[in-house]
């Protein structure tokens, strides 16, 4: 049987099984006291889902549209499966909500708190993360270029660049609040410090990646430093630089949120998380976390998309 058949036939059954298990888990005589039969059923569903997913992803579709659709479906199905497990375990085993709320509770809380979430998103993501990310990545990049351009500085600057590497958020966040105030600039500053190093290291490695013959070609044209940089070394460095941009896209978000634990006006994702933890409103905490995950993934996805366009020539995109 081909992958498609296995995936295609199993998938609807698996979905039905999920729905049934969810209804079961929430029914009053199972919730919080589910027995071994219930867990056996869930395990069976797990196996079936794994087989179905595997079948689907080994599928070779003809049209690019269908392939793209499948590429979207698989992570969504996989995610749905994770959420299903989470819900069934939390509800079925009666895990206290202060430790781990059920996805359904998080979802309803998310839907009910949209205005607050939007406000927090604007404060944390749009103001702190984006500005900090841009400044941090740019400065890491520029320092790498300066160090590369001026050998004397390379030897003086790079060891000190490593120094900045591990300035921990917890240490710099209070200092940044002291320097830049309570509002978003201090969070952006923390993000700058956090994103600087990955960009520095990756750019330096990328600039060293061009091959000898390729450099010799530039030399034979008596191309200057900047010409060689723009026409050869930066293109070769791009895969490295994009790695840094990707790593930083998630790091920036963590940095900004954590920095808000150390003093902020009363808005922001980190602020909300810290106060809702104390109120034991874990559903709201997870709603914010979900927001962070969505925003971060989209951000990452955007960077990855640009990467694909800019480094299409790299072997990793040429299968």
């Amino acid at each position: 049987m081909t992958g498609f058949h296995r995936g295609g036939i199993l998938a609807p059954f698996v979905l039905l099984g999920w729905i049934y298990a969810l209804i079961l888990a929430h029914s009053p005589n199972v919730a919080g006291q589910a027995g071994p039969v219930f867990w056996a059923f869930v395990s069976a569903l797990w196996l079936a889902a794994a087989v179905a997913l595997n079948g689907l992803s080994n599928l070779r579709l003809k049209t690019p549209g269908a392939r793209r659709f499948l590429g979207l479906c698989i992570p969504i199905l996989f995610g749905a499966f994770l959420f299903f497990l989470w819900e069934v375990i939390v509800v079925g085993a009666g895990v206290p909500s202060v430790l781990m709320p059920a996805p359904s509770a998080i979802g309803s809380r998310f839907a009910a708190s949209l205005p607050v979430l939007l406000e927090d998103f604007l404060q944390t993501f749009v103001k702190s993360v984006l500005s900090g990310y841009m400044i941090g990545c740019l400065s890491g990049f520029l320092v790498a270029i300066v160090a590369d351009r001026i050998p004397f500085l390379r030897r003086g600057l790079l060891p000190l660049g490593n120094f900045v590497a591990a300035l921990p958020v917890i240490g710099i966040a209070p200092i940044m609040v002291m320097w830049f105030g309570f509002d978003w600039p201090s969070k952006a500053a923390v993000v700058v410090v956090m994103t600087f190093f990955p960009m520095l290291v990756n750019t330096v490695a990328g600039l060293a990646a061009a091959g000898r013959l390729e450099r010799d070609l530039m030399r034979s044209y008596a191309a200057g430093y900047w010409t060689t940089l723009f026409k050869l070394r930066l293109p070769v460095a791009l895969p490295f630089i994009f790695n840094a941009l990707k790593i930083n896209s998630t790091l920036a978000l963590i940095g900004a949120i954590v920095a808000e634990f150390f003093g902020t006006p009363i808005v922001g994702m980190g602020f909300r998380i810290s106060i809702e933890v104390a109120r034991m409103s874990l559903d709201m905490v997870w709603a914010e976390i979900a927001l962070a995950a969505i925003a971060g993934s989209l951000f990452y996805g955007l960077v990855a998309l640009v990467e694909r366009g800019a480094t299409f020539w790299h072997p990793s995109y040429r299968t």
Binding site: L213, E214, D216, L217, M218, R219, S220, Y221, A222, A223, T227, K231, L232, P235, T311, F312, W313, H314, R318
Partner: protein, 281 residues
Amino acid sequence: MGGSKAPSGLAAARPESDPATPAPVVDIKDLSLTYEAADGPVYALSNVNLQIAEGEFVSFIGPSGCGKTTLLRVIADLEQPNGGHIHVNGVSPSEARVRRDYGFIFQAPALYPWRTIQKNVELPLEIFGISKGERRERSRRQLELVNLKGFEKKFPWQLSGGMQQRASIARALSFDPRLLLMDEPFGALDEIVRDHLNEQLLKLWDKTRKTVLFVTHSIPEAVFLSSMIVVMSPRPGRIIDIIDASHLGRERKLEIRETPEFLKIAHRVREGLRAGHSYDD
């Protein structure tokens, strides 16, 4: 190394240069180069002496690994010799390089994978600041010459080995350098294309009076193209024979390959090559 830094005036004032003939384009004296490797040095060039006058077509032929590429790289200032003197167009190789005196065709195509074929050919033109319209025109012409019309928008990895090599030839010809350093440019081409390009190259050489330094493994090709043939032998790389072939004339038809004159020179080259080999195995 010190010698190569001598002021450019010195070259013209050297006693052995006849004031009637122009200063040589390439002037090499006692050149040696050793590659340092972890397991001991490799003597790539040893006491090489060579003078190439303007407008000559010089072929280098010799066993694999004898130092042909290395010699071309020294002339192009891509490698620093350990000893001896070298002048290119009367100045040090590095000055010549900075003046953009030459074009280099490497043994491997060295195309940039993020550029289309056309953009690869236009690369030197971009660097030399030539206008966009002119670049288009020149790359079009060169790609046509090497028979790559229709492949302008392809990326290097979408071309066959021979096509990539032709693209790299087009790239070097595009900016019309006075001195051409060509390292086995036609190695991956079939006989027909090769003959065609040989003729084109000869025409170009005759018309523009360029100086060409040409590495090849094909004896007929060397004899057909050259006004002078340099035979080398390996480890340490030395010149063992320099054959004058200028009496074959500047305008040659493919047919001269059957003439006794031609065959005589070819024979001498083959003998030299064989001698170089006896040294090796």
